[in-house]
């Protein structure tokens, strides 16, 4: 009887995904404790957000994909409206208009768009599965382009590129012809000088800083310089938990959030890093398997896009902290401190589980 209830409750939860995600979360909590100079309240705060995120994931996992698909259009429209709202009424924090006060809380509409965009694209391609025309790709491009432009204007080039990428993944998986892909890539390459000229000063600085962090050791370069020192000095086995000098003597900036990987890396070394990379790869592999086995195009595209979104965040974050990518505000999935990102990530997991868990139902 109890067993039946337990099965009912957990039946849709994917044991592989959940165990990997929870392991990464556990590493994140341990690192957060160290990064916050052993502040337990901080860790409790993050754990309570994890609880909420898990609940949302459970709810989504138990929702059939068909129902999810119905939410695609309203969700996209809401996200788009909020983005427009941001441009009109948004709060300016640190010189960028990214936040919107919706009464109960201050939200970042771009975060919602991270899910809404792949969802609507998957829904759109699924709807036009049997008669896919170039026109459809054009409409898809429009669905990507509008939010992209709105977020670029905030300005938040990093997030815009990530969202653009999640849309592009859907197009790629949906079968956009190689000719078009190569053509677009070439066009993008050719337009780089133009893009460069339109970038904000701080954005250029970030890129220049990447090329030579030592040019401005106390300004933009300071972040990258200190985080690479943290990683490099960690060595093979790390300095040990709570014993990272870069972390505990305040040399690392943003060490709870975007730069938490440097803390992890300093204290757990190369071995810790490889463990984390393997965990991520395992999680991605499971995501790809779900995508490959999904029974509908909607499921395939959504699962694929979400998995690639996870990958992108992890790659961009670790790349930037270790100094091979420019500094963009991307958290490390399941590790960085912060509730919004955590919820988005678990929503993604919930969607994957929904797609996988309702496979047989759809087939019958």
């Amino acid at each position: 009887m109890l067993g039946q209830i337990w099965d009912r409750l957990t039946g849709k939860l994917d044991p592989v995904l959940i165990s990997i995600a929870m392991t990464i979360c556990a590493l994140g909590m341990i690192t957060l404790y160290s990064a916050s100079n052993e502040s337990m309240p901080r860790v409790w705060g993050q754990m309570s957000k994890l609880g909420i995120a898990l609940a949302i994931m459970w709810a989504l996992a138990n929702t059939p994909p068909q129902l999810l698909a119905r939410f695609a259009v309203p969700m996209y429209v809401v996200a788009l409206c909020l983005l427009i709202g941001v441009t009109a009424f948004g709060l300016v924090i640190n010189g960028a208009r990214r936040w919107l006060n919706v009464g109960v809380a201050t939200i970042q509409p771009s975060e919602l768009m991270k899910i809404a965009l792949p969802l609507i694209l998957a829904w759109y391609f699924n709807r036009h599965e049997t008669s896919l025309r170039p026109r459809d790709f054009f409409i898809a491009a429009l669905l990507i382009g509008v939010p992209f432009a709105l977020i670029v204007r905030q300005p938040d080039l990093g997030t815009a590129l990530l969202i653009g990428a999640s849309g592009a993944y859907v197009l790629l998986l949906a079968g956009l012809s190689w000719k078009v892909i190569l053509g677009l890539t070439a066009l993008l390459g050719a337009s780089l000088p133009l893009v460069w000229s339109r970038l904000h000063d701080y954005q250029r600085d970030r890129i220049m800083t990447l090329i030579d962090p030592s040019t401005d050791p106390l300004g933009q370069g300071y972040h990258i310089t200190q985080s690479t020192i943290a990683i490099g000095s960690g060595g093979l086995t790390g300095k040990g938990w709570l014993r990272g000098t870069q972390t505990h003597l305040d040399f690392l900036p943003e060490r709870h959030t975007d730069f938490i990987f440097a803390v992890y890396s300093e204290e757990f070394g190369l071995i810790g890093n490889l463990v984390l990379l393997v965990l991520y790869l395992a999680l991605f592999a499971r995501g790809f398997i779900i995508a490959a086995n999904a029974s509908t195009l909607f499921g395939r595209l959504l699962a694929g896009a979400i998995t690639l979104m996870f990958f992108t965040y992890a790659f961009v974050n670790m790349g930037m902290v270790s100094g091979i990518l420019p500094v963009v505000g991307v958290p490390l999935p399941w590790v960085s401190f912060g509730g919004t990102a955590l919820i988005t990530l678990f929503v993604g997991l919930g969607l994957l589980m929904s797609i996988d868990g309702h496979r047989k139902l759809v087939q019958t």
């Binding site: 012809s177 490099g232 000095s233 960690g234 000098t245 190369l270 890093n273 990379l277 990958f311 100094g323």
Partner: protein
Amino acid sequence: MASELRNPQYELKRFQSRLLLVGVLVFAAFGVLAGRFIWLQVYKHQHFQTLAESNRIANIPVPPSRGIITDRHGVVLANDYAAYTLELIPSKIQNLDETIDKLAEYVEITPKDRRRFRKLMEEAKNFETLPLRTRLSEEEVAKVAANRFRFPGVEIRSRAFRQYPMGESASHVLGYIARVSQKDQERLAEANLMGAYRGTDYIGKAGVELSYETELHGITGIDEVEVDAGGRAVRVLSRKPPVAGNNLQLSIDIKLQAIAEKAFEDKRGALVAIEPSTGDVLAFVSKPGYDPNLFVEGIDPESWKALNESPDKPLLNRPLRGAYPPGSTFKPFLALAALEMGLRTPSSAISDPGYFYLPGSSHRFNDDKPGGHGIVDMYKSIVVSCDTYYYQLAADMDIDEKADFLRPFGFGRKTGIDVEGELIGVLPTREWKRKYYGAAKYREEHRKWYAGDSVSAGIGQGYNTYTPLQIAHAMAVLSNNGVVFKPHLVKAIQDSRSGERRLTEPKPTDTIALKAEYVNVIKNAMAGVNKEGTSAMVFKGAPYTNGGKTGTAQVFSLKGQKYEASKIDERLRDHALFVAFAPLDKPTIAIAVLVENGGFGSQSAAPIARKVLDFHMLGKVGPDGDVANTSATAKVAAR
């Protein structure tokens, strides 16, 4: 593609192949990351390890405490005391003004403090921390410490400050210390001492503080500490304690010094007292003086202006760097020269009509006594200070031979005293005049030596100029029968670690071959000066034997008019001089006094000498001494 038939099987295949491709790319991307990690954490690990360590570990120099300076009897003249300072690290503060404004909410920061801080910033670019406020109270320390987290780059430190308890007294002997300037840094860099001075903010700028800098400074210690990103020390890893600087015991008797300074009242001038048998400088007065405490924390612009632009020149070290004609105090030396050179005997006398003409010249050299002194022998020439006697002597004596005789006494060359900046003065010779007028704008007639030049030089005027130190030194040499001791201000150096004392060895540096008989003639005549001569009134009733000589040095040529002090602008009045020694047999003190624009030597200079000799000889203030309160009690400069 537009009318392409959709084949679900083909579509699925294509999706899966694309997924596979993407999967490979994902794997490759993570491979790149792994590669980057291996590069950073294995290949370049050592490099980053070093960087992290240099982030973390700072070698903080611990400045040594500076040596203490005492007088010959152990009275403290300069020492260190600890005080809290509020310091800023400009390189770690983004907006200095804002930080200072915020700090002002916790501690009082006056506009003067701000100005001084700005000045420090301009002067000392390479320094890590600069004091904004010094001498914080305990309460202020507590307030700032409690709000430390709000002020990155702000520190409270305990630092040693120099203080000069005697204030102005002996200021020109001690000199002062002040913040290391750009110039000092260059000098230190040249001497390869930058490392030794890390953490040291102050350096000797004048007096013995400057000349004995290497003894006083000590050896800098090093604390290896762990610091956080704000530059704050978290804990000490290892420690190499500093070694305090060596202590100086001066030859100065600060009580004697104080009596001498007091005796000057508000007159300008100089006094040097030397122990002839050792070269110990017992008193070294330059009036007016200044308060060296003003310089320690960086002098504020107003005080500096007041000192630097005062017409009284309080910063001028008069005994060392003031050049004055010796006037009649030169006569005993010239008389000795006459005896030694065989130009006169003690008893050969002249008849003084009150003036002197060079043969074939119509220029009249006046004696200061109209009508003259009558029959004048050598004894009388000194006692009454007869100019005519010396005009004649000068006409008979070759200027170069005279210079050769006088030079060993220290005239016209450095005495070698142990402070920097001594002037050479002018002991005129033919060669000197030729060089002095060597510039193209002068003609041969300017450069040539005339008999008239010798005559004015013959009474200590003309081209003669010497420092009060040189005159005192010469007096010491004469009273010591020609045995020369280099004058020195530092009697002993005490090693801070072993406590061992290194004495400045009183070794004669030269002995002038003088006939004792001749020296006694001069000494006897100088005793006569104080008994029945120009300063007899001043030395009346002195219970010890002594000798002296008055002098008056012209500042301004009256061109034949009669000198009337009251009618002349004070600054153009003659300088008053007096030299003396006591007792006659084995003198323990030789002294030179100069009062700028003081008129006759007997009027203003001799009474000062009397007070100093009384105290030195009797150990107490003399009978008519109004200087009873000159006990050198410490006026601790507690502001």
